[in-house]
């Protein structure tokens, strides 16, 4: 299984991105997460399943409750997550440069 591709597919979905953001600073149960969305509960469960499968989220069982949290192991390799961030800025700056090179002619 191509895990890397799956991670990017996982985060391409806005609801899944929103779930990751919710969990950025706290641990939550599936119910508490679902309460933040208008989406049906089973849909949210499906999103949680996908995020867990590609190891972005991890589960902890406390009694009968399952808590979800960001998978710190997956998230801690700085070099890996710096590159997409760098590329985002590189894309933006390339656009900035292209736009401003045309600027004097326009005005």
């Amino acid at each position: 299984m191509n895990l890397r591709r799956d991670v990017f597919q996982a985060i391409a979905d806005p609801t899944r991105r929103a779930i990751l953001l919710l969990l950025a600073s706290q641990t939550m149960t599936a119910g508490a997460i679902a309460a933040n969305f208008d989406t049906a509960r089973p849909t949210v469960s499906k999103h949680l399943q996908i995020l867990t499968e590609c190891e972005l989220l991890a589960q902890t069982q406390t009694g009968r409750e399952v808590h979800y949290h960001i998978n710190a192991k997956k998230m801690k390799e700085v070099a890996e997550f710096i590159e997409p961030f760098r590329q985002m800025w590189d894309d933006r700056f390339n656009k900035l440069e292209a736009i401003m090179k045309n600027y004097p002619q326009k005005k």
Binding site: F8, I11, L22, F85, R86, M88, D90, I99, M100, Y103
Partner: protein, 154 residues
């Protein structure tokens, strides 16, 4: 290909530095940061507010293809034309604390310039979490959508 944009983010530090050299006079580079119309184009965001002055502020908004809106805002603490902007930056309705940004614009030659952005987060964890948030997709999708709209207008 040589990397034009560099990001220095050391393990275990709550800050990072982005540097980039431009084939642009410093005044044009600075203008790209201070004129809403231009900023919207390269950032891929809508500019709701942009007050370029000391004690000013800004608010941006990004929309993803499903219409979800993400807003960002900050206060401008220091504004020196063609040289420096010190500002805060905050994601609205998200569980992240505000970050502090120092943007330094430097003239290299008459036609080239350098931008250095030093961003300071509240903690190492905060920095790493923000960096891992998949904003790139949302922003790029919003940008592609803008391009589609622009193409239709032509």
């Amino acid at each position: 290909m040589e990397l034009k944009t560099k990001v220095d983010a050391e393990n275990g530090r709550p800050d990072l530095t982005i540097t980039r050299e431009f084939e642009l006079p410093v005044a044009l580079l600075f203008k790209a940061y201070t004129e809403s119309e231009i900023l919207e184009q390269w950032m891929g965001t809508k500019v709701l507010k942009l007050e370029n002055k000391t004690h000013g502020g800004f608010q941006f908004e990004t929309t993803d293809p499903r219409g979800n809106k993400y807003r960002f805002n900050g206060a401008i603490h220091e504004f020196i034309a063609d040289k420096k902007i010190t500002r805060t930056f905050e994601f609205e309705n998200m569980p992240f604390d505000v970050q502090l940004e120092f943007l330094e614009f430097e003239k290299l030659t008459d036609d080239t310039s350098k931008l250095t952005i030093h961003t300071i987060y509240r903690s190492v964890e905060h920095r790493d979490q923000v960096l891992q948030m998949p904003f790139k997709q949302g922003i790029n999708m919003a940008h592609n959508r803008l391009q589609e709209i622009a193409a239709q207008l032509k």
